[in-house]
């Protein structure tokens, strides 16, 4: 019995891989679905809206969070935004934007950006406000002014915390971009939500692709974080964990 189950499971995953690499007839007949062309197109669409939304979220949240952290005010706001963000159901957000504002790339980008703002805002606030005050005083003693201190001392030292927020936002946006199909934008979510057209093979193929993209995005951002982290900070961390 368990052997049969095992083979069945394997065959669905096999069909899913086949769906990614070979075009086939849709479950509904008539049209051809799957294959590299469609998969690449949907992946491109998925990544496009993900990066657009992440860019918008970063452009809004990062300056606000860093500014609040720099002046050391608005802790309540910065933390509450982060906490409130977690309570918003992704499905309700997409439904809300589709019903109240509109569908399509622009509106979906807006919805996803709203989702990405809280973790970036909270973490950039926390990261900057937790920078050692002695380091800031030393910079001031060297003659640095406000913006110089932000750019040369506070931001570099806050990189690990800020990037943790960016990674949370990125993965959350990428995950929710799968729901964009409900708001008139084709993404890999089309495969997952279109079981009657794509069959189990297409659904599982979509799930595999989205999971791989999420892990890839997380690793890519971890790499960027490593590049952005000042060498001195990496040394301190290595000593701390040793």
């Amino acid at each position: 019995m368990s052997g049969v189950l095992h083979l069945g499971v394997l065959s669905v995953f096999g069909d899913a891989i086949d769906f990614i690499f070979h075009q086939q007839e849709a479950r509904t007949g008539q049209t051809q679905v799957g294959g590299p062309d469609q998969v690449l197109h949907l992946t491109g669409q998925h990544l496009k809206v993900t990066f657009l939304a992440l860019g918008v979220a970063g452009a809004i949240a990062l300056p606000i969070g860093v500014a609040l952290g720099h002046v050391g005010r608005g802790e309540g706001v910065a933390i509450s935004v982060g906490n409130a963000g977690r309570a918003v159901p992704e499905l309700a957000l997409i439904a809300f934007v589709a019903a109240f504002i509109g569908v399509g790339l622009l509106n979906v980008t807006f919805a996803l950006a709203v989702l990405g703002i809280p973790p970036i805002l909270t973490n950039s606030y926390v990261g900057v406000s937790q920078v050692d005050r002695n380091a800031v005083e030393a910079a001031r003693g060297m003659g640095m002014r406000g913006l110089q201190i932000v750019a040369k001392v506070e931001l570099p030292l806050a990189v690990p915390t800020i990037m943790a927020g960016v990674r949370t936002a990125a993965v959350n946006i990428l995950a929710t971009a799968a729901l964009a199909s409900l708001a008139g934008l084709s993404t890999l979510g089309d495969l997952i939500l279109g079981r009657n057209v794509y069959g189990d093979a297409g659904v599982v193929a979509g799930a595999i692709l989205i999971a791989l993209l999420a892990v890839g995005l997380e690793l890519g951002l971890a790499g960027i974080q490593w590049l952005l982290t000042p060498r001195g900070l990496k040394l301190t961390r290595a000593e701390a964990s040793a």
Partner: protein
């Protein structure tokens, strides 16, 4: 429990306009921002999704907590295991929940089992990290005092370390619970009739979206407050931890 499960047709096929009678018909026909009359007349259709979602969240967080606590207990005296557990739960946390549901499709099918697996796996990372952080923050003086009183390792853990780690532990549970409430709406795609079901079935009906969205957010707020009160009772000597998403 089976009676509560809606048998959904393949998702896209079942987006149909459901009964929108009751209340002020013209308000509904014009799809205004919120039709109080309709909401009043049709509120009962949200009770089953609401209760299902509550049950799903409580079960998933309870299982997630039990597993994360077992991990934390196991790695407490084997500290070299902590990075491994953190990385493993981190990878699982990265997989989007919607994708996770359908990766399980060939294995557990769709339904409550799949929904509970996905949601509880999602809580592991947050709860585990917070328990570990809480245990790491226990002052060594307290542990020394316990040892000096002749406590065994087990007594030290249950009577000194765990109570002192309680604020962080509950902070982790609060984050996990609030996130789980939000994600559980997506479990409509695993064929569980949560508040995601009305959202998905009538995605263009504004009043419906307001009701289902607000109910889900209220559930998150109420459960968060319940845990906050629990923490005040369990660890009255410390203020709640303000947890940032670090």
């Amino acid at each position: 429990m089976t009676a509560a499960v809606v048998q959904l047709a393949p998702p896209l096929a079942q987006v149909t306009i459901h009964n929108r009678t009751g209340g002020n018909a013209s308000c509904v026909a014009q799809n205004k921002v919120f039709c109080p009359g309709w909401a009043f007349d049709n509120f009962d259709r949200y009770t089953t999704p609401l209760l299902n979602q509550l049950l799903l969240v409580v079960v998933a967080v309870a299982i997630g907590f039990a597993v994360a606590f077992a991990f934390a207990l196991f790695s407490h005296r084997r500290r070299w295991l902590i990075p491994t557990f953190t990385a493993a739960t981190g990878v699982l946390y990265t997989i989007p929940s919607l994708a996770f549901i359908f990766l399980l499709l060939p294995i557990t099918g769709l339904g409550w089992t799949t929904a509970i697996i996905v949601l509880s796996v999602y809580t592991l990372q947050i709860i585990y990290r917070n328990i570990v952080a809480g245990l790491a923050n226990v002052p060594s003086e307290s542990k020394d005092a316990g040892r000096g009183m002749g406590m065994t390792d087990g007594q030290l853990f249950w009577k000194v370390e765990l109570p002192l780690a309680m604020p962080e532990l509950i902070a982790g549970l609060r984050i996990a619970t609030v996130s789980t409430v939000a994600i559980s709406t997506l479990m409509v795609f695993a064929n569980v009739n949560t508040l995601g079901a009305p959202l998905y079935q009538q995605i263009d009906f504004k009043t419906n979206i307001v009701i289902a969205g607000v109910l889900s957010i209220l559930m998150a707020i109420v459960l968060d407050l319940v845990l906050l009160v629990a923490q005040r009772l369990l660890a009255p000597w410390r203020k709640p931890v303000k947890e940032a998403m670090v």
